[in-house]
């Protein structure tokens, strides 16, 4: 029972990271119907920005803020420069472009920062917390990870629900034609959507890197699991993305804890395949047909 609680709590922390990646994929998918294969590479790149800033200033939070700002900027710039020309083109064009971007960013990071594994600092202590004498299987940093992603997800929810920018973003995503008729500058909304996705991805990058080390391909496997979480939740649903991330994180932690950690990637991919086979629209997407 004690093990079970430890695995569950530990899984929540990892699950929130998958949730963050999933959320960034959902933001882009809803706005542009593009699956951004370079989301992980973008997060890797912004984490290098944080790494550099922390190296120069010695201040973790300066690096943290720099990564988020870089994510926002990177998302916006990528949308404006390389994604804009393939919007409303056959889906394969966007697939090729975002995979190209993945290779480009990982190559560029290798040129600038080198290929070696670098350790990235956590925000808080990674010593396990205890309830009395009982180890909980999570650290203060794990609590921070979960809290930070939760705060970001809530912030997004509030933005979408209660602000006029949020209403515009939703209108542009649901029905770009009607939105433009009403004077919504849909192009700017798409840029904003990518920028927000870049921000959430950057958050995932700095949060996960203490556990994975930082190197040009360090986010590849995290991206695959984040994508799996997004598919579990249904690519259209932000809430689904968070729940999907949590389910996946906890489930994979059980697999790692009870069966062995080398089975985790296999189970992650198996989950992706099974979900795509039995319920491709995700567990949480409301299966109403889109009326456009």
């Amino acid at each position: 029972m004690r093990e079970f609680i430890q695995f569950t709590l530990g899984g929540i922390s990892f699950g929130m990271i998958y949730a963050a990646i999933a959320l960034s994929l959902v933001l882009i998918w809803r706005g542009t119907r593009i699956l951004n294969y370079s989301q992980g590479a973008m997060a890797m790149f912004t984490t290098y920005v944080a790494f550099t800033v922390i190296g120069h200033t010695g201040n973790y939070w300066a690096g943290f803020a720099a990564a988020l700002a870089a994510g926002l900027l990177l998302g916006a710039v990528i949308e404006r420069t390389v994604i804009r020309p393939v919007e409303n083109k056959p889906p394969l064009n966007a697939v090729v472009v975002t995979i190209g971007l993945l290779v480009f960013l990982e190559g560029l990071a290798g040129i600038i920062y080198g290929g070696q594994y670098r350790s990235f600092p956590p925000a808080f202590s990674i010593t396990g917390l205890r309830a009395g004498s009982v180890p909980l299987g999570v650290s203060s940093n794990d609590v921070f990870v979960a809290g930070a992603v939760l705060a970001a997800a809530l912030g997004l929810a509030l933005l979408f629900r209660y602000t006029s920018a949020g209403l515009r973003l939703r209108a542009a995503a649901f029905n770009a034609y009607a939105a433009r008729l009403l004077g919504v500058r849909v192009g700017r909304m798409l840029t904003l959507g990518w920028a927000l996705a870049g921000l959430i991805g950057a958050l995932a990058g700095v949060l996960v890197s203490p556990a994975t080390f930082l190197y040009p391909a360090s986010m590849d496997s995290i991206f695959v699991l984040g994508f799996t979480a997004a598919v579990i939740g249904g690519l259209d649903s932000p809430v689904g993305a968070v729940v999907g991330g949590l389910i996946l994180g906890v489930a994979l932690n059980y697999v790692g804890g009870y069966l062995g950690s080398n089975l985790v990637p296999i189970f992650g991919l198996a989950a992706l395949i099974v979900i795509l086979m039995i319920r491709p629209s995700g567990l949480f997407s409301v299966s109403t047909s889109r009326q456009v």
Binding site: S164, L167, R168, R170, A171, F174, N175, Y177, A178, A179, R180, L181, L182, G183, V184, R185, V186, T288, Q291, V292
Partner: protein
């Protein structure tokens, strides 16, 4: 020409010799028409006459290859749809205007979102609810749950939120029961009478459109074949039989 208060003789909307089409097909072959402020102009004609293309060209989704479109003297010709909407032209498209994933109130709020000032927007919303009580009753419902007639009311109400100079209506009666059609037509006429709204109305249903319109324009294969007072058009038996089918 200075932009600002329309002069008495200045049309609210003027289309001059507009040519537009898709690929190699020309849907509009030199269309000219002008809409006087505070009037309803009905654009009539068979399927494929170019009626919908005329509206999508005015609202900027189709780029004219030739010609000029002005709203109260201001050139709209090569501007983008969202900028044209902000210039004061509201386009209610055929059938697909409601954003079904949003609530009724969110749809309405979108209509006035780019207007400056919170009070103006709140007033516009209150106005809409006063004028359309059925929308007030459904304000928190998803717009996808509305009936066809209710959706038509919603898109018109939403277009009015921006206090447009000119309202383009594409087939507002399509797919609606005759009783609802009469209600929608009555609403359009009331808006003209009470608020001085200028309307360009595209309709397949020529009889009911001419019933409320001041002017009628008949399109055939992308060209204007008649432009008359609505009463004159309705009385022209030959034209009616030939182009309007009633």
């Amino acid at each position: 020409m200075p932009v600002g208060r329309p002069m008495a003789d200045q049309p609210a909307l003027a289309i001059e010799d507009v040519v537009a089409g898709y690929g190699g097909v020309l849907a509009l072959r030199g269309v000219s028409l002008s809409v006087r402020p505070g009037t309803i102009t009905a654009v009539l004609g068979a399927n494929g006459a170019g009626k919908t293309t005329l509206l999508t060209t005015i609202s900027g989704f189709v780029r004219p290859r030739q010609g000029r479109i002005t709203l109260e003297g201001a050139d709209l010709t090569r501007r983008r749809p969202e900028e044209i909407a902000r210039a004061g032209l509201a386009h209610v498209p055929e059938g697909q205007g409601v954003i079904t994933e949003l609530t009724v109130e969110e749809n309405l709020r979108l209509g006035a979102l780019w207007r400056h000032g919170h009070t103006g927007r709140a007033e516009a919303l209150a106005d809409a609810y006063r004028r359309f009580p059925l929308l007030a009753a459904a304000r928190d419902r998803s717009a996808g749950t509305l009936s066809g007639g209710e959706r038509q009311i919603l898109v018109i109400a939403r277009a009015l939120m921006a206090r447009p100079r000119v309202l383009l209506l594409d087939e507002p009666s399509l797919g609606l029961a005759p009783r609802i059609v009469a209600q929608v037509m009555g609403l359009i006429r009331r808006l003209r009478d009470e608020t001085g709204l200028t309307v360009l109305l595209v309709e397949q249903n020529a009889r009911s459109a001419l019933g409320i319109a001041d002017r009628g324009v008949v399109l055939n294969l992308g060209q204007v074949v008649a432009a008359e007072d609505a009463a004159v058009l309705a009385a022209d038996v030959g034209l009616r039989k030939h182009y309007l089918g009633f």
